[in-house]
């Protein structure tokens, strides 16, 4: 087990290294980073001074190491759109994104598991067909379309909830559901198929023969075992949450990291974009490692295969 954990962490570090290389390379492919912030009136001397102070006159690999050293010490640079340290900006915006994602996760859990289980128990019924429709629609609708349609129905037409912004509990409902929808669709189908597998096993038949009430069989004996399947997809859920939060925060003007990235892109603030992408990548790789280790813990076959 220890060997597995160490291996997994090393792999994660490799991934982070590659991503940092890509992000760094892209920032240089873009051409002179100075061109984006300086206007034509800037004198040659001025440009040269800035270039030196940013270390842009040094060879590329030196620039990369400087960049990494700064990253590791928490110096993410200064945003020229907001004129503040990027770390400060991130610290300010991160809680909103976490709030929204956590809400979406809870929504996913509350909706996806019961519907998935019931779809499996009532296989081929109208309920199952409805669940399938719901899932297929979820995979065909872009997140922003889900967000806009929810906003139009519940905020504009019915007037029950606010259209955008951050505030009380009412503000988080629409973006939360819109962000969770795709995951609900995915997890629901996964739960259904793994429930179907479990319902077909011998020990469930034995439980039935013993006369254990059906609800107890379903929720106690089957559901727990059926959870292992969807668990492996946790890193996927997380990836969808990251992507979705960028979109949903833009739709609902939710002041989190996702909205900040888009604002930064629109004003060509490379430093902020790179920092947030690196942060998301780190988070993502971290969650991946934790998922794998948890899974190996739950299902011993995994760790011996590696």
């Amino acid at each position: 087990m220890q060997r597995f954990i160490v291996l997994r962490i090393l792999q994660g570090l490799l991934a982070v290294f590659v991503i940092s290389l890509i992000v760094f390379a892209l920032s240089r492919v873009a051409g002179d980073p100075l061109a984006a912030i300086l206007d034509d009136e800037a004198g040659k001397e001025q440009i040269e001074r800035l270039r030196q102070s940013w270390g842009l006159d040094k060879p590329l690999h030196v620039q990369y190491f400087t960049y990494m050293r700064r990253l590791l010490t928490g110096d993410l640079g200064v945003s020229f759109r907001w004129d503040r340290p990027v770390l400060e900006l991130i610290a300010e915006r991160l809680p909103a994104t976490i709030q929204l994602s956590a809400f979406a996760l809870v929504v996913t859990g509350i909706i996806a598991f019961p519907i998935g289980v019931l779809s499996a128990v009532k296989k081929d019924s109208w309920f199952d067909a409805g669940g399938k429709m719901f899932a297929i629609l979820g995979q065909s609708a872009p997140t922003f379309a889900v967000g806009l349609i929810l906003m139009w129905v519940f905020a504009v037409q019915l007037g029950w909830l606010p259209t955008s912004g951050k505030g009380g509990i009412k503000h988080i409902i629409l973006p939360g559901f819109a962000l969770g929808y795709y995951n609900v669709a995915a997890i629901m189908r996964l739960t259904r198929s793994s429930m179907l597998d479990v319902l077909d096993t011998e020990y469930v038949k034995l439980a039935r023969i013993k006369g254990i009430p059906e609800w107890k069989i379903v929720w106690k004996h089957c559901f727990r075992n059926a959870l292992i399947g969807p668990l492996t997809y946790f890193s996927l859920i997380f990836a969808i949450l990251i992507t979705g939060s960028v979109v949903i925060e833009t739709v609902f003007a939710w002041p989190g990291l996702g909205l900040m990235v888009i604002e930064a892109i629109n004003s060509k603030d490379h430093i902020v974009v790179q920092a947030v992408v690196m942060l998301f990548a780190l988070l993502y790789v971290g969650i991946n490692i934790i998922t794998d280790i948890t899974y190996a813990y739950v299902d011993p076959r995994i760790r011996y295969n590696q």
Partner: protein
């Protein structure tokens, strides 16, 4: 393209099926049963929503897609009739455009300042609690789906948008497919270090949230039509590479590859003439399964302002424009969104069907 089968793709089972089909022949009944299994509704939707508008956008669209008539801005769709609405003023609202927005929004709690609430005739101040009657103008069939903020015809823009969606997805999939299939075949054929490195890259690539990579790329090379295609192709290739590598690995071990080598065929020739035809079905199935995904990606990138640049009529851009006026003019975001959902839904159904017909092994990809 004719698939040269050095060996039937499905192995013995495929051969058996071929024989069975051969003995039954092409009777009318068989053709009918084949036709009945075609996903007719999805194909119908795709043809009328995506393909025909995309090809004939210039001929079919009633108006220009990028230049609008500012006098006719924000007109509702053709079927909306004139109607009087009465609303109680709950709160006064200050907005850049008081006349346009105030009464419409009075019902909702927008929460700033004092505004000049104007009654139906455009004069006078209205107090809190008063009922305001206003004439909401209907649309005309000149603009069947209404117009946007700049007076551009939504229908015409949707038709040209279909062209963009179709073009971007075809080109991106072609590019990503060639790159991924090529690398996958090379990795399988050469094996060793190259294979290991390529597959590691694929692992990392597949694991990373794709929109983020796309955003970084777009920031780096600037947004535009070709950037979007390149970005999406770079997002797509990894999946091809992995699947095709898997298939090619199995094919490499077959006898006919050895025989080709004995006959003196070059590596390139073996890959192109003997391996590629055998993975071609898989490539096609993957491509159809990807179209929906690519349309969503392109629309999302455009929606976020990192895709097709304005004033092009991409569906995602239209949705973004519609979001700004969602409280008053639903038709601007609604029709493009519905178009995306219907197209992607149909494409997914079609892809599933094609996969089951051509390559059921791909079920879990």
């Amino acid at each position: 393209m004719a698939v040269q089968t050095s060996a039937p793709p499905g192995g013995p089972a495929g051969a058996a099926a071929g024989v069975a089909a051969g003995t039954r022949g092409l009777s009318a009944g068989r053709i009918w049963s084949e036709l009945r299994r075609l996903p007719v509704i999805p194909m119908f939707i795709l043809v009328f929503l995506l393909v025909i508008p995309a090809i004939f956008a210039d001929v079919l669209s009633p108006h220009d897609s990028t230049i609008g008539d500012l006098d006719r801005a924000l007109e509702p769709p053709g079927w909306v009739r004139d109607r009087e609405t009465s609303q109680v003023v709950v709160q006064r609202v200050r907005d850049k455009n008081p006349n346009e927005i105030s009464i419409n929004n009075a019902r909702r709690n927008l929460n700033t300042g004092v505004a000049n609430l104007v009654d139906a005739n455009g004069n006078g101040e209205v107090d809190l609690g008063e009922t305001v009657v206003r004439m909401e103008e209907g649309g005309s069939w000149e603009y069947p789906f209404g117009t946007d903020k700049q007076g551009r015809d939504v229908l015409s823009r949707m038709m040209h948008g279909a062209r963009i969606s179709l073009a971007v997805s075809c080109l991106a999939i072609l590019l990503g497919g060639i790159l991924g299939t090529g690398l996958g075949m090379i990795a399988a054929y050469r094996g060793g270090f190259l294979d290991a490195v390529l597959m590691r890259i694929v692992d990392i690539k597949l694991a990373f949230p794709s929109i983020l990579l796309a955003l970084t790329l777009v920031v780096a090379i600037g947004s535009g039509f070709s950037t979007v295609i390149i970005v999406i192709a770079l997002l797509l290739w990894a999946r091809y590479a992995r699947v095709i590598r898997g298939e090619a690995l199995a094919i490499r071990e077959r006898d006919f590859i050895d025989r080709a080598r004995v006959a003196g065929a070059s590596n390139l020739r073996i890959m192109m003439k003997h391996i590629f035809p055998n993975v071609f079905n898989t490539v096609i199935v993957l491509a159809t399964l990807e179209v929906g995904h690519v349309i969503i990606l392109e629309a999302t990138l455009s929606f976020l302002g990192a895709g097709i640049p304005r004033p092009n009529p991409a569906w995602g851009l239209m949705a973004a424009d519609g979001r700004e006026v969602i409280t008053s003019s639903y038709w601007i975001f609604m029709f493009p969104c519905l178009a995306i959902v219907l197209t992607v839904l149909s494409m997914n159904l079609l892809g599933d069907w094609l996969r089951d017909r051509l390559d059921p092994k791909l079920r879990n990809v």
